[in-house]
């Protein structure tokens, strides 16, 4: 019953998850077992690149859940991603121990440089992995809770909400740029040595991080499917389409928005935490408002309102970016802007919608998938197909 509801009824999702799983099997083999001279060898650079893409896909999934299903356009999800990343970065900094440039057993290099005598209170506990992981969830979750609580209760919606989320991430960026904040200022956190005792640049560690990103993506996908196929998922879609009707049906709309927003922020935090050890650095640039906008473009390109569309979008746009920036880095932003315009004009349902059009699918699957998945849950939905 549950697998039917979560996976089997979702063809696109099955295909995308299948590809992720396939990559999780093939990439380690091709990296570790296939000799470097072979054409099938996958370099560690590529492994890290793919791992990064998986983190982006997880982030896109988080945005799609609230934007595609609940209609909340957050232009500040980069902030939750970066906070998760900083929490992981703090753990990795504490792992360096006395191996830093200045050799201080406890203080990270930048604190020694600033003549700080002891560790600030908010750096306590980050030498423990479990504590850092807890913070990866709690810090973005708590920020989302407070921010969402104020915004949704005041019934801030639509473009106003988007603008204040931009302001949020911009404010955090400015704050993290300050040296006195104690997060390394504009250099951020870097020079990581190892994670859980394993050297961070080693092949095996890179593969493990890649696999961890893949597993997180799959688990998050299933969790999101569980939400959108439950009654809560239908209520969330109802809020998107007719908020006041939902309220007059007796639902406390603010609570639904709030919890979905918090969940989504936590997913973004996890994505950030997996991202940082793979790229080896986290700095305030991750809070840049542009990042948050870019990731909305991924979701729009893939197809919002279909969870797997977000993953497709994150991979396509980022792959495109990798190719593009190696040939002509200055024009990438123009290309991104053009992409957004084209997608909005020509492909309102994104790449996923394009596939569906080629398949000449019945009208039902043409509509937003949130709705088809819901109908498929009904035991006697065969009649509905005929009716349509």
């Amino acid at each position: 019953m549950l697998t039917q509801r979560l996976l089997l009824s979702d063809r696109g999702g099955m295909i995308v998850l299948g590809l992720v799983l396939l990559a999780m099997v093939l990439v380690p083999i091709c990296n570790l077992l296939v000799p470097e001279t072979s054409a099938l060898h996958v370099s560690t650079f590529t492994v890290t690149l793919l791992g990064k893409f998986l983190c982006y896909a997880l982030l896109a999934l988080a945005v799609d859940l609230i934007w595609g299903y609940c209609g909340i356009l957050s232009l500040g999800h980069g902030a939750f991603f970066a906070l998760g990343g900083y929490a992981m970065g703090m753990y990795l900094m504490r792992q360096i121990g006395p191996r830093g440039q200045y050799g201080d057993p406890v203080l990270p290099d930048f604190m020694v440089f600033l003549n700080w005598q002891e560790l600030p209170w908010y750096w306590q506990g980050f030498d423990m992995f479990w504590f850092a992981m807890l913070m990866v969830l709690l810090v973005p979750g708590l920020l989302a809770f407070v921010f969402g609580w104020l915004a949704f209760r005041s019934r801030v919606t639509g473009v106003y909400f988007s603008i204040i989320t931009q302001a949020l991430t911009y404010a955090l960026m400015l704050a993290f740029f300050r040296n006195e904040m104690g997060f390394g200022g504009n250099n951020g956190l870097t020079d990581f040595k190892d994670i859980l005792g394993f050297p961070i640049a080693a092949n095996g560690t890179r593969i493990s991080l890649f696999l961890a990103s893949g597993f997180s993506l799959i688990l998050a996908y299933i969790a999101c499917r569980y939400i959108v196929t439950s009654r809560m998922g239908k209520i969330v879609v109802s809020i998107r389409d007719a908020e006041s009707r939902t309220r007059f049906c007796g639902y406390k709309v603010e609570s639904y928005k709030l919890w979905l927003f918090v969940f989504s922020a936590m997913l973004a935090g996890i994505a950030g935490a997996l991202y940082v050890p793979q790229v080896g650095i986290i700095n305030p640039g991750e809070f840049s408002p542009l990042n948050s906008i870019e990731l909305v473009v991924w979701v729009a390109t893939g197809g919002r309102g279909t969870l797997f569309g977000a993953i497709v979008g994150a991979f396509t746009v980022n792959y495109g970016k990798t190719i593009f920036t190696s040939y002509s880095p200055e024009t990438w932003l123009f290309a991104l802007g053009a992409l957004f315009v084209i997608v909005t004009l020509v492909l309102p349902k994104g790449l996923v919608g394009l596939f569906n059009r080629f398949k000449k699918a019945p009208a039902s699957s043409d509509a937003v998938t949130a709705n088809t998945t819901a109908t498929e849950k009904n035991p006697d939905s065969s009649t509905s197909k005929e009716a349509v």
Binding site: L150, R153, S154, Y226, I227, S230, R231, M232, K234, I235, V237, S238, R240, D241, A242, S244, R245, T246, R247, F248, C249, G250, Y251, K252, V253, S255, Y256, W259, S364, A367, V368, A370, N371, A374, T375, N378, D380, S381, T383, S384, A387, V388
Partner: protein, 270 residues
Amino acid sequence: MNIFSHARRSLGQSDPNFGAPLDTTHGTILYVEGVTVSFDGFRALNNLNLYIDEGELRCIIGPNGAGKTTMMDVITGKTKPDAGSVYFGQQINLLELSEHQIARGGIGRKFQKPTIFEALSVYENLELATAADKRVWWTLTQQLNSAQKFRIDEVLVQIGLQEHRHKNAGALSHGQKQWLEIGMLLMQSPRVLLVDEPVAGMTGEETEKTAELLLSLAGKHSVIVVEHDMKFVRSIARKVTVLHQGSVLTEGTMDQVQNDPKVIEVYLGE
């Protein structure tokens, strides 16, 4: 609005005990007394007094700007009045409650423009409207039980949409959407139904069906209908209230109202 009033509103608020039978010993289910609402100096409602009896069908008419929609906003908690009181039965003060609590408590509202969940099927629209635990965490795992399914089937028959149960609600005709919205109100097991312009844009046949539906609901529920279509009002009305400039001009049967010189002057005169 400051943070503290938010906090008070959300922390101090618990659902009133709607499970207890509503105290309607005097036969009146809804008391609207001395209600005044101003928007930037304009008085949308001006010392409005309105009493709705249990099970009655009441039509409310009045020229544009008479305050009909504002009155519904006040009863359903969307607008808080500057003065006055609104009681549901004799015990429950509606002014202390928010929209979702009032809806849970048994006051259903149909909007002027049909407002349904277009991305969902007819059946799912009714499912979401079903009276059930509507707190966030419960809805993650909730399924319909057999009594609720039975109730949905009943309502589908009542609103005449049993053949369209799996159709996308967005694909329904205008009239069908209006009925679906009424059906959604019925799923909430309401005591009072507020129906705003139910026949606007309907064909003659659809209008007749709607009149039948509303008449069949009176008795079991108190129904308040706001409507412009005089022919329609005449066909269903037992008691009519005329609003003018935010207060009640007169009340009575359709004939009494239509012959009232005050009404003729402000509304039917031309």
